[in-house]
């Protein structure tokens, strides 16, 4: 993956072609649905793609990108989403002020991140197994907290107006959820590609031993990465809860596989196949456009999943087959 770039012109051409798979697919999908699905190009529809499909998934997928960048994976992003949502809803229900409830939501997510950090950086368990364990424990904890998995609804009357700001508000004509997603994406891109922390995280993913031998605190960086992942995912949980005004136990898992898919599809954009925020965002955009386009073209709801899967498969196959010549 991170091999020294080949110098041959042919090799370079192949490499460029493999990196183009994602952008080309994005344009092709856009043109295809513009032609096939009436109403796809309407401004209202494109905005709905961004608000309904793109926002939450992009936040979770950006979180996932940090874990993948550090050479790991986080299967418990959905758990962080859920814990944030639960803490947020519980405090609002108890009549606490919204800002405090929001902070508690971030705290709920951070608990998941800290737990992962102890397992991965402290004990040294592989991220896949550690976060799988967290996912399973989190599932039981949520069911215990909710009497076997009952949703926690907020009564419409008792909810303060400020509660809806994150999910339904708009600022300067733009929906707040979209602004939050944009902010998360921008910050994440800067942190991952431009900051010292991001460069060390990337180095951990490429060759952890080198980081250790360079005298950098490997474990601290690993721990910080998984806490950061959970915090970002928690933001998605807060926006989600503010939109739907209900906490449904274990619902955050719905993001998991798409977030992994987007983060890995995004790696095809990078010269050395590294995870990167721009690629992840394009990956999420691709998934969102396909989901919406299939819906708008009036295709049977069930074929949509088949279409999405086939498309991801094609992008991956094109990119992988041409990359490792």
């Amino acid at each position: 993956m991170s091999a020294v770039p080949a110098l041959g012109a042919e090799r370079r051409l192949v490499e460029a072609a493999s990196r183009l798979a994602l952008p080309v697919a994005l344009v092709a999908v856009f043109l295809l649905f513009s032609a096939l699905a009436p109403g796809f190009l309407a401004a209202a529809n494109l905005q709905s793609v961004l608000v309904n499909n793109f926002t939450l998934l992009s936040i979770v997928a950006v979180a996932m990108t940090f874990a993948v960048s550090a050479g790991g994976i986080d299967l418990s992003v959905g758990t962080a989403v859920d814990f944030a949502s639960f803490a947020f809803v519980s405090l609002v229900l108890a009549g606490q002020p919204v800002p405090l409830a929001l902070a508690a939501g971030l705290g709920g997510g951070a608990v998941v991140g800290l737990f992962n950090a102890v397992l991965i950086a402290g004990i040294g368990i592989s991220p896949f197994l550690a976060t799988l364990g967290t996912l399973f424990i989190g599932r039981s904890v949520q069911q215990l907290l909710t009497n076997g998995g009952n949703p926690v609804y907020l009564p419409p009357a008792g909810v303060p107006e400020s509660f809806h700001l994150l999910g339904r508000g708009s600022l300067a004509g733009l929906p707040v959820p979209l602004l939050i997603a944009a902010l998360v994406i921008a910050l994440a891109a800067v942190i991952l590609a431009r900051s010292r922390f991001g460069r060390v995280v990337t180095a951990v993913g490429i060759e952890a031993e080198v980081v250790r031998y360079s005298g950098l605190p490997l474990k601290a960086h690993l721990a910080a990465t998984y806490v950061l992942v959970a915090l970002i995912a928690a933001v998605a949980g807060l926006v989600l809860t503010s939109t739907v005004t209900v906490y449904i136990p274990n619902s955050g898992n719905a993001f998991l596989l798409n977030a992994i898919g987007a983060a890995f599809i995004g790696t095809t954009l990078h010269r050395h196949g590294r995870p990167n925020i721009a690629g992840t965002v394009l990956g999420v955009l691709l998934l969102s456009l396909v989901a919406n386009g299939l819906l708008m073209s009036g295709l049977n709801f069930y074929w949509q999943q088949v279409g999405t899967g086939l498309l991801i498969f094609t992008v991956l196959a094109l990119s992988f087959a041409s990359r490792k010549v």
């Binding site: 994976i73 368990i125 592989s126 364990g133 215990l144 596989l257 898919g261 890995f264 498969f313 991956l316």
Partner: protein
């Protein structure tokens, strides 16, 4: 990886040969404690349930546990073979995320054909064929298109899950056929037929994987690909073969699930993570903490015992997933901490 240097010793020989070069006495002892620990936990839980509930130890109930574990057991065994051939690194190594969806589609194909009036033979072949076809797609994606198994099978999972929805329109397709009736009925000694299927499937796979040259090569391909390549093994064929086998297990599990539930049901995908955990947890029940078929069988039965015991004691079965999670973390922490530290 380095604890497994003795992997190339056949399973049958491993039992008697003393610990290999690298393991020191203390690590050996720690290892024994750990492995014994997993079994001890299993036995303790078993004995506790036996005392706590008068029904637990009856042959009828034990047969029930086996039958309830049959579907996830067969799937986890399929997954174990993929993990053996692909190597232990879950992100870049062997994994098959499409297994649960595969089971759902195979069950739907079987149920749909039975309802359309096809005889059992046709429906069974079609279900197994569906599983094999899914395995073949995975095999091609991993060996020919060179997509990382985690991603390839993730995409295939989406496609297969979607196809199941298209076929069933997200409804239950009932199916009652002679085969399903005999599968969901009792076999000899009043033990459910599903139990025999699980034990038979596990036995055959265990013999092939743990006691034949083929199985030995499978381990070599997964753990020491370079060495395996150097000694002339066609790595791609083994990896492709492992995905074909897991595809077939998905097909078999599909038929079992059609028998257990009298038709196809929705939501097969929810079985995915429990199956992954069962397969990974299985490593604790093996002598060298590597994936084995017998280990996976024990792990599947352990989960089955937990679920069953909780039901008998009227405890919330929601705790089962938490216990599974805790166990996997405990076990993996213990292995990680006990492993020799050097490079």
């Amino acid at each position: 990886m380095l604890v497994d240097t003795a992997l190339l010793v056949p399973a049958s020989a491993r039992a008697d040969t003393p610990s290999p070069q690298k393991t020191t006495v203390s690590q050996g002892l720690a290892g024994i404690a750990l492995r014994g620990g997993a079994l001890a936990v299993f036995v303790t839980v078993f004995v506790l349930f036996a005392f706590a509930s008068p029904i637990f130890l009856t042959p009828f109930n034990l047969g029930n546990i086996l039958a309830q574990s049959a579907i996830s057991g067969v799937l986890a065994i399929g997954l174990t073979v993929v993990i053996i051939a692909g190597g232990g690194n879950v992100v870049s190594g062997g994994i098959d995320l499409s297994l649960a969806a595969n089971m759902g589609l195979s069950a739907a194909v079987y149920a749909a054909l039975s309802q359309a009036g096809q005889v059992d033979g046709v429906a069974v072949l079609a279900a197994l064929g569906t599983g094999l076809a899914i395995g073949a797609v995975n095999a091609l994606a991993v060996t020919w298109a060179r997509i990382v198994p985690l991603l390839a099978t993730l995409a295939v999972m989406n496609v297969v899950g979607g196809l199941e929805l298209v076929l069933t329109q997200n409804t239950v397709i009932p199916a009652i056929t002679p085969l399903l009736e005999s599968l969901s009925g009792s076999g000899p000694f009043g033990i459910p037929a599903l139990a025999y299927v699980l034990l038979g499937f596990a036995l055959i796979t265990a013999v092939v994987v743990q006691a034949t040259p083929l199985g030995l090569r499978l381990y070599a391909v997964g753990e020491f690909p370079e060495a395996a390549r150097a000694s002339g093994l066609a790595l791609k064929r083994f990896i492709a073969g492992s995905f074909l086998f897991s595809g077939l297990s998905g097909g078999i599990a599909g038929i079992l699930s059609a028998a257990y539930l009298s038709g196809s049901t929705t939501g097969a995908g929810e079985l995915l993570l429990p199956v992954v955990v069962t397969a990974l947890l299985g490593q604790v029940f093996s002598r060298r903490l590597v994936p084995t078929i017998t280990g996976t069988l024990l792990s599947a039965l352990f989960v089955g015992v937990l679920i069953n015991g909780f039901q008998l004691l009227n405890l919330s079965s929601t705790l089962v997933s938490g216990i599974q999670g805790l166990l996997i973390l405990l076990v993996v922490s213990a292995t990680t901490l006990l492993r020799p530290k050097e490079g």
